[in-house]
Symmetry: C2
Subunit: 201 residues, 2 copies
DNA sequence: AGGCATCCATGACAGATGTCATGGGTGTCC
DNA sequence: GGACACCCATGACATCTGTCATGGATGCCT
């Protein structure tokens, strides 16, 4: 019997998924959580074999939970289920020790199957998401460029960004300029869009 | 027995939801669809009593489906279930004849209850979403301002926006300027953010 | 008919932004 | 030690943007 932890902030979904997984003979949902923090607590308390984590949750996202879980409970395999498949997430997730990555558009049988796969030490990534991630490639941005571009994400003027990242306005403009050039965008706002789409910020 | 149509592009969710609704004695899921178009076709074929529609679907969104369904099948009550509760959606939905509006964070029992409510001619809107919508108020933007601001959403430079909406660059700047002023933003990109948050574009 | 909001456009100006050249500081790799 | 990438900053310049004044066209309401 594989003991499963289920974390998703959408009660409707989580409850429904739990029912569905419980229908499988070899799976048992032993705990549920609606937030990242709750997921961690539940995992410590119940020591599940597999943690099925939603990517977007109010506090910690699924990847952060997976990362901590990987350190605290090495015996627990983590997998991510997500609504929108942005390339960068997959990369981050795999680097954090996540062993399964599925979009919510998959079928119930696939989900159950992947739970079993990761439990036996295997890995499974949705083929389409994998292809997207490969097509997106690695980020051409330096860490600082990514920082500044992310801070520019709200659309704030340069001065405000500079204050937020503790840099001079001139430096901010330099970073933004170079990031914009690397991404082939017409201005920083377009650069933000493409960087987001690629999952680079 | 209330006959229910279920439309959601996420197979996982839709299947789970269907199982859950079917567990209710007085509910029966008679059709499922993964796209807006499929939902319309399924509705015509099966004539359900209640249509439970996801807001975001690949082709038509839930609100458009609801609008057409309201014209074609007046006997079918529509309700929307959504992941992210943006104020403007609720308003648009209600204007399109939607009678129920719930976030996916609700419980299964609430969902079932609301299905029954809308079936008997009642209405139900999630209290929190309703409060947000009221707080957001009406859009101060003229239709054209909203158009142009939406076209500016990608972060493209003015010239490109002008080409896309078939206006002179100067006019575009005028509209953007007035929209930005109305929204109290520092520039058009911030204006886009707040307009999106409010659901005004 | 007059008032009013909206739509579209132009011109002009100040300020914000994008780009480039330049330079100093740091750490890493060979 | 030298090449290299990255980090941070400044100054200068051209362009883009935001704002304002102005004006004509349309349609709606009273």
């Amino acid at each position: 019997m594989i003991r499963v932890l289920l974390a998703d902030d959408e009660n409707l979904i989580r409850g429904a998924l739990a029912q569905m997984l419980d229908l499988e003979d070899d799976l048992e949902v032993v705990a549920q959580a609606a937030t990242g923090a709750a997921a961690l607590a539940a995992a410590r308390a119940h020591r599940p074999d597999v943690a099925v984590l939603d990517l977007q949750m109010p506090d910690l996202d699924g990847i952060e939970v997976a990362e901590r879980l990987g350190r605290e409970l090495p015996g627990c395999a983590c997998m991510i289920v997500t609504s929108h498949g942005r390339p960068g997430y997959l990369k981050r997730a795999l680097e954090s020790g996540v062993r399964g990555f599925l979009p919510k558009t998959t079928t119930a049988s696939t989900l159950a199957q992947v739970v079993r796969t990761v439990h036996t030490g295997g890995r499974h990534v949705d083929p389409e998401l994998a292809a997207e991630a490969i097509a997106a490639g690695d980020s051409p941005l330096t860490p600082r460029e990514a920082d500044v571009l992310e801070a520019a994400g709200s659309g704030a003027p340069v001065g405000e960004i500079a204050a937020r990242v503790h840099l001079s306005p001139g430096t901010v403009r330099n970073y933004l300029s170079s990031a914009t050039a690397k991404l082939g965008a017409a201005n920083r706002h377009e650069a933000v869009s493409t960087a987001r789409r690629m999952g680079w910020i």
